[in-house]
């Protein structure tokens, strides 16, 4: 490489520094702290020593295992439910009709509501003395209130996740389904494909990349959920974020909290990639079915 070219390249990197600085300075340092903490550094309350003690705690920790699989389940189901409900809405909004812009805007409102606010609004509905119980009692459908809040299966959290994430999925999927030309759908109909077949063989494969992107974003958000879990989640099971928080704040074990945090990041990364891969497999499998 000649000197002039080298200087040009170096200038380009220097000009990139403000952007790279933010990434390296804020994200990289935080990641390094978490990584180092998980190996016994930055204990703050005691002596630092490089070791695997905190990682060894993972093996026999039932609360961690439970939190990990709970978060995995909630994140997976949230992503699947959100896109499953968003697809019909996206197809409905695909062709403009009177009021479609307004309908689309209304459907996106939940995205503007902060998670914690959404959780409290939801609790107003399902709490012991909440709206649903009051209506059911007044209609004489039930004699005494039903317990719906903090259910053991995390259904409340899933409802909240879907409510909050459908607008995001919708935002992405409307654009994608609009990208599939009317002629393509007409050709599929002409070939004998009914609505279900058109969805499986045309819509899904042709919007696969957007579908994967939506799944990944929703999975990552739901895997790291704290607010919905705290307000509406089951009392006996923690999410990973909740477990990390309690490990640090209640047990005052920063090193183990860092391990849980890294595992949460690993779950978000590998879980979302696995889900995207599984989505591709499922879509392709559907494509080659009749």
């Amino acid at each position: 490489m000649n000197t002039r070219r080298l200087r040009k390249t170096a200038t380009a990197y220097v000009l990139l520094l403000p952007g790279l600085g933010v990434i390296l300075g804020f994200v990289g340092v935080v990641l390094y702290f978490a990584f180092a903490q998980s190996f016994g550094q930055y204990t703050f309350a005691g002596e630092d020593a490089w070791n695997l003690d905190s990682w060894r705690q993972l093996a026999g920790n039932d609360r961690f295992r439970e939190a990990f699989f709970y978060s995995l389940r909630i994140a997976t189901l949230s992503a699947v439910i959100s896109v499953a409900l968003a697809y019909p809405l996206a197809l409905w909004l695909r062709d403009p009709f009177p009021g479609s812009t307004f309908a689309g805007a209304v459907l996106k409102i939940p995205y503007l509501v902060p998670g914690l606010v959404a959780a409290f609004l939801y609790v107003n509905f399902i709490s012991f003395n909440g709206f649903i119980n009051q209506v059911l009692e007044r209609l004489n459908i039930i004699d005494s209130p039903i317990r719906m809040q903090n259910d053991d299966r995390g259904i409340g959290v899933l409802i909240l996740q879907a409510w909050k994430q459908i607008p995001l999925a919708l935002l992405l999927l409307v654009g994608a389904v609009r990208g599939v030309g009317n002629d393509i759908y007409d050709a599929a109909r002409d070939g004998g494909a009914g609505p279900g077949s058109r969805f499986v063989h045309i819509t899904l494969p042709m919007t696969l990349q957007t579908l994967q992107a939506a799944m990944i974003i929703i999975f990552i958000g739901a895997a790291g959920d704290f607010s919905f879990q705290t307000v509406a989640g089951p009392r006996g099971t923690d999410s990973l974020a909740q477990f990390m928080f309690s490990t640090k704040n209640l047990a005052d074990d920063r090193n183990f909290a860092a391990v849980v945090g890294l595992m949460l990041m690993a779950l978000a990364l590998f879980g979302s990639l696995a889900l995207a891969g599984a989505t591709r497999l499922a879509v392709n499998r559907g494509r080659y079915s009749r």
């Binding site: 393509i184 599929a188 002409d190 070939g191 494909a193």
Partner: protein
Amino acid sequence: MSEELALRADGVSMVFDNGFQALDDVSVEAAPGEFVTLLGPSGCGKTTLLRLVGGFLEPTQGRIWLGSLDVTPVPPEKRDTAMVFQSYALFPHMTVDDNIDFGLRRKKLAKADRRDRVEEVVGYVSLESQRRKRPEALSGGQQQRVALARALATRAGVILFDEPLSNLDAKLREQVRFELRRLQREHGFTALYVTHDQAEALAMSDTVYVMNGGRVIQSGPPEDIYDRPRNRFVAGFLGVANVIQGTVSSRDGNGYRVDTGLGELLVSSNGDEEPPGEVELSWRPEDTEFVDADYVGDNVFDLKVTESVFLGNLIDVVGIVPGLTNEPIRAQLMRHTAVDVGSVLRTRIPPERLRILEPEE
């Protein structure tokens, strides 16, 4: 409903939600194995009619029959039709084979039958070496062939063509035109073909329906329509025509004498009906004859050449008849005739080539 017809659109009208009337009481029919073309300018309703036959639209009035079945309310996925779209509408995420196989899978054919059928139609359109490619890797002409193969594979009773050659260059268009006609003859499918290209319509069709303003203006074999256009629109839309005004002055044997800007012209009768006094006369430029300068007879005049254009196989001449009319008259000569601008040609129009046009509605 006659059993002999493969397709019949009977008194079909179509008014869209915005109030636009695309079709007004249109009737079209096709016998099995017939190549029928809907020809007309943009907005004349030909594609709407095609989409009605395909089931993509439902008429506001009238019925559509396929064979002996009234399919008016039947959706496209349940009709015995296949369509070749103007954009080809190939599935971009599928290979050539998968595109062709798509309709066969929906028909739930056995895997071996599907494989054989795909191989067969791929052979018809000479795409054997492209079978694993996706549409994006194919040229326009190859994509057009895949679209045709996809339609042929389902062995639908009627194949609908929505201006399928309009995206091809002139040379390829001509080549595919011949191939399409050959395939239609070989496989005997009934074709309903939409185009605004009169050359395509004349070259490929058994029957042409000329449409304008949502109505069928004239239908019949291409030669009939070309030689005997019903009105000024048909005469002008199918090729080039000279049209002049005249007044019928008398009956003369099997024809009429008509006073025109070119003098009195003798016109062979094209029907028993007495024409009205004021008429329009039409003839094709290639029907013009050039005679010796001292020739005397009916329908003879001197044409002063104002323009002469070499068209390859022909020379296109535009001229006026000094002292009689300044309306430009077009004529065509064989290419080896020398024609200079400003020269005067003794010209004759055979009475049997003159046509009295009906007034336009």
